[in-house]
Amino acid sequence: MQAELIDIRNHMAQYPPFDEMPEALLEQVVQSIEVQYFRAGSAILDFGQDSRWLYYIRSGAVEVFRRSGELYNRLGEGEIFGQIGLLMNKRVRFPARALEDTLVYRIPDATFQYLFEHDENFADFVEIEDRSRLRSALSRREKANDLMTARVTRLIARPTVWAPWTVRLQEAARIMTEQGVSALLLMDESTIPPRLKGIVTDRDLRTRAVTEALPSETPISDIMTSDLITIRSSAYIFEAMLTMLHNNVHHLPVMDGDEVRGVIALSDIVKYESQSSLYLVSNIHRQKDLKGLKRISQEVPDTFVRMVNEDANSHMIGSAMAGIGRSFTQRLLELGEEMLGPPPVPYCFMALGSMARDEQLVVTDQDNAMILDDRFVAEQHDAYFLALARFVSDGLAECGYTYCTGDIMATNPKWRQPLRVWQQYFTDWIEHPKAEALLNSNIFFDLDGIHGQTEFAETLKTLIAEKASHSQRFLTLLARNALNRTPPLGFFRTFVLEEDGQHRKTFNLKRRGTAPLSDLIRVHALACGSRAQNSFERLRDIGKTKLLLEDDLGNLRDALEFISIVRIRHQALAIEAGRKPDNNVQPEDLSPFERSHLKDAFQVVSNAQKFLRFRYNAQVGRNAQ
């Protein structure tokens, strides 16, 4: 491939199924492409004509119709069409028309057939069409927001504006004004390709150059930020958003290895999709005291409702809520350290459970712990950490994160221990598991360091990933625990049918739906040595092994998404109605659509539990409510 066609390859590499295609194969695809332009309204494919190409939409929008003329699908940038004709009988089955001015890349039948034979992921992608009712029910929702599925490169709309890092302040300001950019990259040209040295933003110019009245000949390197926060070009827009929030920066250079692909700004993301959670998080980090944090915490339910109304998916809402919870915790820790002074030994503050999994909702209690440096001496240091833990825990409670009823909090001395003790805890749980003890320690297997020496938490994740997969007894007991809570067998308009034939009026969507799912996904993830915490990411890791069939994985993903989103909607409705949100649903509250798909989703959970019981030899499941 001509290196100059790399832009085309990079574009395709953002979208499935090309995003997972080996580079060499994708280059062959690019090599075989023919480009064609279609004016809005013109026909791209007519019914019955020979199918000769697979179509990839580079820009614009396309409508695909059924034979009857009924609209079948509407596709946009990065999506493909024409595959059904190529697969079936070499005749166009679904005519297509350009809805907007559209540029397509046509991939010839021969290349398509080669990919279909040689790339399993590609074959799956083009074959799966309407296979599951559940999936098509979800797809509409997912189209509405793609922060989670779109990559940052999609926000790069212009060539990178940069200058040598040796320029003067005045020159840098002139370039920024002339090019109309709010950030300028500074490059070291002595290497090939030039290396990124720093970034200067108009905020830097305002706050530093102007207020300090620096002379215009000041070298730009004096005011540039050289401690750069960047993001890789394969990252999702949502990750970029979180990176900006975590680091309180408004611009991120997008990198392909060492090479700069462009710069994205917070305003690009906000323009891309209004994100109320963004403002809330940056606001949290600006609060000066607990009172301010408490005031801001009142906005959390509104933000949640707004995201639901913006049709965000459960992964996005879960991550945003976890991000908000994390920010409250981080800010409280900072305020605590300001008040108590710096910690006597390094420590890591750890989130557990749903916050660590990025699956938090509005009704949530706090689950946390502290890992202390091994130099920790209780008599000398613990007073400090106890005070800090209390400050944070009380603060979180004030902000709406109620105390953990199981006392899994850093205020509990048992969960405020040096790293070596934590290592021992996990080693015991995994190598000498006891059913009862494991029941209570389940939550520790979803962990994430959120403040301080986060590498302590990483050490524990590594230990778990290495040991868990080798302990059959641990997996068996964990699987048995995961079978404690079962989904309802079915439900009707007014009642829930239980496995023992009982009728009930309500059921708990968390206990009977999302929790059993995340429990069983955790078991599989630990069995295959995954370090991921989020259930969707765990499913992705599981997919890399042969532990579950691709279809089963897809079903689990869809079931988790669907049950979560019903749960989320249920809570949002309660907030809007001024009621206290909870997880208890009456079948009457559900739409017929939700009822029928929930039945499918619970069936998926039930089948997955049967498999879990068989796979880990976990026969002694109990039915608890």
């Binding site: 023919e34 480009v35 064609q36 820009s59 001015d101 559209t102 046509r106 060539p159 090939i192």
Partner: protein
């Protein structure tokens, strides 16, 4: 860059290019040029949809063919029905004249890249392999044709003549009043830019990183497809458009 020429008034419009090619083929001494002219030129009334085209873009060290040199060539053969990327060709060539610092910044090509590049003379056979029998398509015709003409005068002892389709001239023709009067400016009207990227934007074509000869050639090919679909017809005779 502010060409006043509309494609309707062009001098070359009524040139009988097929006859010109035949006459030039009989007189040229260079075998490469003879082969080029012998490959022929489509008849003036050929429908655009039938014309074999080739998008051509040079990156140069400046704007004056007598003072500046070609540093890279991008070539994309195509038709209105499709642009096959497999045939796209990109070649750096070593300039005879020293490369100025300014143009290095524009093209991102460095001296060391060019030191290893061949002279244009060494790649002429390949270049003509793409040009023979096709009508070149450029964006702004004051670059590729004159630069190739001068470069061939130096290397073959004679220049070259051919018609071009100029996507920039087409845009200029479509926006005759693109420079708003003072009065219109007061009302906030913006001038219409006929630069490649801006022209593409009007047709919903994607943004490409520019200043690479191959990308620009591809961008020009796509732009011509869009222009024909929006403002002309597949059966528009090429005589209406070539210059």
């Amino acid at each position: 860059m502010r060409s006043k020429t509309s494609i309707g008034k062009a001098r070359h419009q009524n040139t009988d290019w097929p006859a010109q090619y035949r006459a030039l083929a009989a007189h040229t001494r260079s075998p490469q040029l003879r082969a080029f002219y012998q490959a022929g030129c489509v008849a003036p009334d050929t429908a655009m949809a039938e014309v074999p085209l080739v998008a051509l873009d040079f990156e140069t060290t400046g704007l004056d063919p007598n003072r500046h040199s070609i540093v890279s060539i991008g070539v994309v053969p195509f038709t209105l029905q499709g642009i096959p990327l497999a045939q796209a060709w990109h070649q750096l060539v070593r300039p005879l004249l020293p490369l100025s610092r300014d143009s290095v910044a524009v093209h991102g090509i460095t001296h060391s890249d060019l030191d290893q590049a061949p002279d244009l003379a060494e790649v002429l056979d390949t270049l003509f392999g793409y040009l023979n029998g096709r009508i070149p398509v450029v964006h702004y015709r004051a670059i590729e044709r004159p630069f190739l003409n001068v470069a061939l005068q130096w290397r073959l002892g004679e220049g070259i003549r051919f018609p071009v389709l100029d996507t920039m001239a087409i845009e200029a023709h479509l926006h005759p009043n693109r420079h708003p009067s003072r009065w219109q400016r007061l009302l906030g009207r913006q001038p219409v830019s006929i630069r490649l990227a801006d022209s593409r934007g009007r047709y919903g074509l994607p943004h490409y990183p520019s200043h690479n000869a191959l990308t620009d050639a591809l961008a020009t090919a796509e732009l011509l497809q869009a222009q024909i679909q929006h403002h002309f017809r597949p059966d528009t005779p090429i005589r209406d458009l070539w210059l």
